[in-house]
Symmetry: none
Subunit: 250 residues, 2 copies
């Protein structure tokens, strides 16, 4: 009944409390989400507090541990990063009520989507967010905005479940000439190659500026919505430019 293959991935980045991981897992399964990925949990894994709090959910779902966020995102095509703080990101900003239909439409086109949640106090860093195509904001009371991690996950799962309820009543409109989007691993690979080529060209004016410039580049590449074919073309461009560069320097 639950179409888990189309349901979004939930990624917890550097979660601190096992209790919150367990409560998030329980909330996910309550609403039919089963693909949980945990990046560098503070207290290691497995975690007894998480297992206790999950009330049986962790045993019934896929929960995998990753060392870094890019690794967790490798097979994902579109990523929503949860943030309470408004930054001057040139990215779409979604509420859960908007993001879930967006995610569902992408799933119809065989795109895998992920919702990423940061650690309990600090939330996602700018570097984490530079890996996300869009920002997700939960519509909380501005006078008491600090929401528990598992509760934030629940808001997404709940929206997913509400949408799933009415799925049978929605007409499916086939996409028009949509190119297969690049996976996160393909983009990451492209980015690494571009960065090292740019390094040789002294693109990064100073080590101080590098982190900001890297983030801008990443944000730009994500925003472009590159297809897998576009990524190949980009590799060709870098090879053509940097290849001559190398030959010239020999």
């Amino acid at each position: 009944m639950i179409q888990t293959s189309k349901s979004p991935v939930i990624i917890l980045v550097r979660p601190q409390m096992g209790e919150n991981i367990g409560a998030a897992a329980r909330a996910m399964l309550n609403f039919g989400l089963t693909d949980l990925r945990i990046v560098a949990p503070r207290d290691g894994w497995p975690n007894q507090a998480a297992i206790d709090m999950a009330a049986g959910a962790l045993e019934r779902m896929e929960a995998r541990i990753f060392e870094t966020l890019p690794e967790a995102l490798a097979d994902c095509h579109y990523v929503y990063g949860t943030t309470a703080r408004m930054r001057d990101m040139a990215k779409p900003v979604f509420l859960p009520r908007q993001a879930i239909p967006d995610s569902r439409a992408r799933a119809q086109e065989a795109q895998k989507t992920a919702f990423v949640f940061g650690p309990e106090r600090a939330g996602l860093t700018n570097d984490d967010l530079s890996l996300c195509h869009a920002a997700l904001t939960i519509p909380v009371n501005p006078e008491f905005p600090s929401i528990n991690l598992a509760q934030a996950v629940l808001a997404v799962g709940y929206e997913w479940s509400c949408e799933t309820e009415s799925e049978n009543f929605k007409a499916f409109i086939p996409p028009q000439d949509v190119q297969a989007p690049a996976s996160h691993a393909q983009l990451e690979n492209l980015f690494s190659r571009l960065e090292s080529a740019l390094d040789q060209g002294a693109f990064f004016r100073s080590e101080d500026l590098r982190p900001t410039m890297r983030r801008s580049l990443r944000n730009m590449l994500l925003r472009m919505g590159l297809s897998a074919q576009d990524v190949q073309t980009f590799h060709g461009i870098i090879k053509a430019l940097a290849g001559v560069q190398k030959r010239g320097l020999e």
Copy 2:
């Protein structure tokens, strides 16, 4: 700013764990609900576990203790009783997405509404439900339906907030991606520069292939929806790569 006078009352009936009361309070205030009523809490009141888990919410809202559900409901006009089990009650059954607009419409008519939640394991009794005008069902996964008390409260609070959001939270929703798009002339200029740099790198494998490859490149650049700033960044990339190339060849 939050119209608490119109917001529904949340009633926890015979809750067992202080942690759940605290988490429910925090979730309520996160979404702008402030009238919490607790009927016969198992461990008495005040409860330190509840205070700890509420993360400051209990101090900022109205939380009152009652001995019986009828006393807690005294000033309420319409009551939704949360239940996972379908009973043969001759009552309307609402999902949260339907109940919240119903509650709001009643509030416009000066009716006070209440959402009632039962104890952790057993839920509301038939006697409790006989005091409710309607049943509320949360759309959970039938294969893993047991939802945490605070998470159930959150589903109602979240719906309330989504409904309220257009009134209260509008200013906090940032505008969607509003970067100035590149003009056609800027794109044309970028394309010319890229093409001549690629020419030096033998990107175009033959003169026969050149027209097709040019068209693909142009289509790709157009599809990316580059902003004026993106175009500048692209120029920087080409300069970094082709600049070294030139110096190398000198």
